[in-house]
């Protein structure tokens, strides 16, 4: 059967745009000399499947409408969006920027985020709804919209947001569940901090930003120690350990816990050296006694003055508002030796969760202030007496017919 010109022609035309390098059509023999099937069947298939992919991408892209920009980061822009078929279904679209260093492929943080979010489905982990690529091969992640800001905003807004032990317990519960879910699925998050804990419309806290996540490494396989934001970085990473476990995330969880209680970063070091000295002073100096082998770590440097490991009483004075059991849990997350540190599962099995006060229901958790009612009252305050709202309804906005009767 001869190649039909009708079929062959468009194939050639399509090949101009084909990003994948394929054998030219004219080669009718393979490497070992076997004649290949000439004709439309073969030639047609490859571009058709590519077309399918493009079509799928296009379909996926058309499902969402991109709205205004919500925020700009170094490696991605976030836009508000909604589903085309259901405009009330709001999403956040994270458009990964094309980076200079990674022009030939995807930036690694995007790959990480995509890889792990695709697999992890949990109420306390941000869910990835869809992925598509837009023009210029830009990657777009369609994420669920978490409109109520992050935990950091609530912690910092001391004047307008007040919360108690029950709220802390509820938030910690959600955070610990998220971390436990990651660890039980063999994923290290490696960047847990309050501003990666976003708050959904119903008050649920969700772990986000998997740009540094990776799965547990095989033995003998080195991981980088330069992860986790400094204030939340555990001592083993500060000392340059290359083989670590989920315990690094647990330390971060403990730091978030402490920060929730005192409403300030617990150990805000400006440099790594300062961070280590802060840990030594506040928690205790890592020594061979409390952490066998620590002095052999590559970047082990501690202040010459050795501080003993803090007893419970010291924590009690500062973090007592969560009760004895809460302090016990906190102390266990801040154990220096990662081997002895509590695991996420053990954290959830802790007695504290069943103590009084009961964790606040998520609907009742404090939220960022500045709700609509407040804004309305604020606007009212700004207006002079006797004026009415700017746009109560259409009736008072439209120009009324001149009322000549009133002129008299």
């Amino acid at each position: 059967m001869g190649a039909s010109p009708l079929v062959a022609y468009p194939t050639d035309a399509l090949r101009q745009h084909d990003p994948f390098k394929r054998q030219p059509l004219s080669t009718n023999t393979s490497a070992n000399g076997t004649p290949l099937l000439p004709g439309p069947g073969r030639a047609q298939q490859a571009p058709k499947s590519l077309d399918n992919l493009e079509q799928m991408n296009e379909d996926e892209k058309r499902k969402y409408v991109k709205g205004k920009k919500l925020g700009e980061g170094t490696y991605a822009n976030v836009y508000l969006g909604h589903s085309r078929s259901d405009p009330t279904f709001k999403v956040a679209i994270k458009k990964i920027k094309v980076q200079k260093e990674y022009q030939d492929g995807l930036p690694p943080d995007a790959v990480r985020e995509l890889k792990y979010l695709k697999e992890l489905h949990h109420p306390n982990i941000i869910s990835l709804i869809s992925v598509f690529s837009s023009k210029d091969q830009n990657l777009n992640l369609v994420l669920e919209l978490l409109p109520l800001g992050d935990l950091e905003m609530l912690i910092r807004d001391v004047e307008r947001v007040s919360y108690g032990a029950a709220d802390i317990k509820a938030w910690m519960g959600m955070l610990t569940r998220a971390v436990w879910f990651c660890h039980d699925n063999f994923v290290l998050h490696r960047d847990i901090k309050p501003n990666n804990l976003l708050i959904a419309a119903d008050g649920e806290v969700k772990l986000a930003d998997f740009g540094l996540a990776r799965s547990f490494a095989d033995p003998g396989h080195k991981m980088t120690s330069n992860v986790i934001t400094r204030w939340y970085r555990p001592p083993e990473l500060l000392f340059g350990a290359r083989h670590y476990s989920g315990a690094v995330d647990i330390w971060s969880v403990g730091m978030v816990f402490a920060e929730l209680i005192i409403r300030n970063p617990y150990l805000p070091g400006n440099t790594e050296v300062e961070q280590i000295s802060l840990i030594c002073r506040q928690i205790g100096t890592p020594t061979e006694e409390n952490w066998p082998g620590v002095t052999q770590l590559k970047e082990y440097t501690v202040p010459s003055q050795v501080f003993p490991v803090q007893k419970k009483d010291a924590y009690m004075a500062r973090f007592g508002s969560v009760g004895v059991e809460g302090v016990d849990l906190l102390a266990k997350t801040l154990i220096l030796n990662p081997k002895n540190r509590i695991t996420a599962r053990q954290m959830l099995e802790h007695k504290w969760w069943h103590m009084d006060p009961k964790p606040t229901r998520k609907e009742d958790l404090p939220r960022k202030s500045g709700s609509e009612a407040d804004e309305k009252a604020a606007n009212d305050l700004k207006r002079r007496a006797g004026q009415v709202g700017e746009e109560p309804d259409r009736g008072s906005r439209v120009a009324r017919k001149l009322d000549f009767g009133a002129a008299r």
Partner: protein, 367 residues
């Protein structure tokens, strides 16, 4: 329709001979008695809608108090009555006249859109009314007469309609007025509430500070202080109270109550909940195998005591758990079945399958 200022415009179209219509000016004098405002600062000008010739109050009283009389303007032969005089609202009398005419037309042609079958009809009607108004205002003598006649004719023909629409218009007006009033009232109340809230906050702050000062002053008397503290904690909810000291006393305070929230109590009573589940209903105990602590592999032995691994906290147990998980991942998932049976898979089949898998899993469990 342009409304050029000045009386010249009016004279050109509808003036009577000699009846120029001067603008009322503060500095003007009465065209009839030549009285100047300079001499009588209280001087006021009146007009009569019959001819719109202005004159001072004095002249009006002098000429028309004894009954109807002719307009004193030269060449104007209208008969005016005292009752008809009014002070002009607009400085430009041409405008005053047009407004008067429009008011009259509007009171007769007061149909609304709902009275017409189509929008087009309504627009035609509006066009007709506007043409008629224009004739009345700016038309020549004959045109004006015609329009006047038309207006009267319409009034006669549509008397019930006009009356009904007039009533409806009044009602609508009343409604608008009431709505506006309600809106203003609402805004006022919101404002008052906000101000009150602010004041209360201030008051609470002051009270709090006083309480602290008081307790500092009476620091020696421990018993009294304790009592006061208790009372304060009950009614003052502040962030300070959330600090460590107060909640350390076991059972003295419900720490959960320290946060301020509006409708919490109500909601809670509405929906009682079960005990808190820290795991949130999830569980990952693998169903097809068990991970034992002694699991090992010759290749892993050298890492067990490797200093870098041990010190960094690397957990070989986690690795074996993952290896087991990955080995079993995908088992029990049959694409063929899913394709063919899909959702129609019966519960019995599923359990049977699961049992089979569990059995094999048990066998594969390396002990």
């Amino acid at each position: 329709m342009s409304r050029r200022p000045g009386a010249g415009y009016y004279t050109a179209t509808a003036a009577k001979p000699g009846g120029g219509m001067p603008l009322i000016d503060k500095n003007d004098m009465c065209p009839v008695c030549k009285m100047m405002r300079y001499l009588n600062p209280d001087m006021e000008f009146l007009i009569n809608p019959e001819c719109y010739h202005s004159m001072c109050t004095g002249c009006v009283n002098r000429l028309f108090n004894d009954g109807p009389n002719q307009c004193p303007y030269a060449g104007c032969h209208k008969t005016l009555r005292r009752k008809g005089f009014k002070s002009a609202f607009f400085g430009d009398l041409a405008v005053e006249r047009e407004v008067d005419l429009r008011r009259r037309v509007n009171s007769v042609f007061n149909q609304v859109e709902d009275d017409f079958e189509t929008l087009r009809d309504y627009n035609n009607y509006l066009q007709m009314v506007e043409d008629l108004t224009f004739d009345l205002v700016n038309g020549t003598e004959t045109k004006r007469r015609e329009a006047e006649a038309q207006l009267l004719q319409w009034e006669m023909d549509h008397k019930p309609d006009i009356e009904r629409n007039r009533k409806a218009g009044r009602e609508a007006e009343e409604q608008t007025r009431r709505r506006l009033q309600a809106e203003q009232e609402l805004a006022r109340q919101r404002r008052i509430a906000a101000i009150q809230e602010q004041e209360e906050e201030k008051l609470a702050l002051v009270r709090n500070r006083e309480a602290v000062l008081d307790s500092m002053a009476t620091g020696g008397q421990r018993v009294q202080l304790k009592k006061r503290g208790g009372v304060k904690a009950a009614d003052i909810t502040t962030a300070a109270a959330a600090s460590a000291g107060s909640s350390l006393l076991p059972g003295s305070l419900d720490v959960g109550k320290l946060s301020i929230r509006g409708l919490k109590e109500k909601k809670k009573t509405a929906a009682p909940e079960g005990p808190y589940d820290p795991f949130g209903g999830y569980d990952f105990v693998p169903s097809r195998y068990k991970v034992h602590s002694g699991l090992g592999h010759p290749l892993l032995e050298r890492f067990e005591h490797d200093r870098a691994h041990v010190t960094g906290g690397y957990s070989l147990e986690e690795f074996t758990a993952r290896a087991m998980f990955e080995a079993f991942a995908g088992l029990g998932v049959f694409i063929e079945d899913e394709k063919e049976v899909g959702i129609g898979l019966s519960a019995g089949e599923v359990t049977g399958m699961a049992a089979g898998i569990a059995a094999t899993g048990h066998v594969m469990d390396p002990r």
